[in-house]
Amino acid sequence: MGLLSKKDAKLITDPLADNNPITIQVLGICSALAITAQLKASIVMAVSVLFVLGIGNVVISLLRNIIPSKIRIIVQLVVVAALVIIVDQVLKAFSYELSKTLSVFVGLIITNCIIMGRFEAFALGNGPWKSFLDGIGNALGYGVILIIVGFFRELLGSGTLLGFKVLGDPIEKTGLYAIGYENNGFMLLSPMALIVVGIIIWVQRSRNKALIED
């Protein structure tokens, strides 16, 4: 037996597909809409959520027997807020450029329903190792969708990926632009993120009929 038992491995793989926080549970949609206009921002957000959810789940799990149930939501909020502030400060001190990309999104991590949802639904009832795996799994599931949406929005909206001009130069009219292609500005607006997420949900459910509710 390796490091992960079959049950443990499921904690990581389930949220990636069949129990994805965005496409199946429909959580964390707000931040997915707000930040996916660029691939880089999507990746940075995914990594930050990975850190906050991984550590936060462990902290809540360790405290699960001593947290008073009356104020458990407040305790969860304090833990996630503290972690986010620490991430923000460390980034500002050691990776200033990255922190500027992230600055607007830090607040969105605190309001991310996935994090509070996992604290409440999993970490309060399970041990630290399992909670850690659950946190990592859900953050990865969230990140995968973010990166897919960010990929299409940046590619079709700006013609770039991670800032590199992959479709040619729109001003010099090279590459695809030479044959009349135009960037789709609508892709950069939030409603388009919802439509892209909708398409992912559609594709996913048409491939796996078990996910379709009556």
Binding site: A37, Q38, A41, N65, I66, I67, P68, S69, K70, I71, I74, V75, V78, V79, A82, I85, I86, Q89, V90, K92, A93, F94, Y96, S103, V104, G157, S158, G163, K165, D169, I171, G185, L188, L189
Partner: protein
């Protein structure tokens, strides 16, 4: 059966302990990292000022600052003088670049005479640059920047930045295609009165060949951010007009 963690006294004690621990942890993190953070912000300001006077590592299409590690050295090399203008009188201050425009603007409360206006004088290739910081509001949040001018108030370079403009739309004010449009634009009209630079929609001169029309081409889908840029140029650079008049008369 009642759990011991359900008691009110326990809840209150837990809350107090939590606040103390988390507060101490955050205070420790913030205070131990703050020197490093303010150092980063200081270097960024120096990079911005250098960028506006054309000292940068730009490649074909993108705006790139000088390296962080060289910033202080280059700043000392190119910026020969830092001044602060307060109510018409000019004084030298080698910390002028640390003036926080937002706070200063708020403290003056709309009274331009009370403001401390920083001005940086740079020398490069035998040419003198007058670099001025500007601050205003875009669609979602603050926008700011640095504009360098020659003694006739003709723009020699500009750098704009923003806090939360829409990526791909308003956020494009910090892209080179927009910032470079400002180079060569006149801030004064033909009669020598201050006019500023409009960020114009439906511009008859989109390639920006006419540098004396006080107009640059707007970014599609970023009307309010563009208007914000024009407004901060107008309101903040206007305050320096007397300084430049003085410069010419002497």
């Amino acid at each position: 059966m009642e759990n011991r963690t359900d008691k009110n006294s326990y809840t209150i004690l837990f809350a107090i302990a939590m606040v103390v621990i988390v507060g101490a942890l955050l205070a420790f993190t913030a205070s131990s990292l703050s020197p490093k953070i303010s150092e980063n912000m200081r270097i960024e300001k120096q990079q911005n000022i250098l960028y506006a006077m054309g000292v940068n590592n730009n490649d074909a299409g993108s705006a790139v600052f000088v390296d962080t590690k060289d910033a202080s050295e280059l700043f000392a090399k190119y910026i020969t003088k830092q001044e602060v203008i307060t109510n018409g009188s000019v004084s030298e201050d080698n910390q002028a670049y640390l003036i926080d425009l937002k706070k200063d603007k708020a403290a003056a409360g709309g009274d331009a005479a009370k403001r401390n206006l920083p001005l940086f004088i740079g020398e490069k290739d035998g040419k003198t640059f007058y670099i001025v910081p500007i601050y205003g509001k875009g669609l979602w949040d603050a926008i700011w920047g640095y504009v360098s001018m020659d003694e006739n108030m003709v723009i020699q370079g500009a750098y704009f930045d923003h806090k939360g403009e829409t990526p791909g739309l308003g956020a494009n004010i910090k892209e080179r295609f927009f910032m470079d449009d400002f180079i060569g634009e006149h801030l004064l009209d033909a009669n020598g009165n201050f006019k500023g630079v409009e960020v114009a929609k439906g511009n008859a001169d989109p390639t920006n060949e006419d540098k004396t029309d006080n107009e640059v081409d707007a970014i599609a889908g970023a009307t309010i951010t563009g208007n914000g840029v024009a407004a901060m140029i107008k309101s903040d650079l206007k305050l320096y007009k007397p300084y430049f008049d003085n410069l010419k008369n002497n």
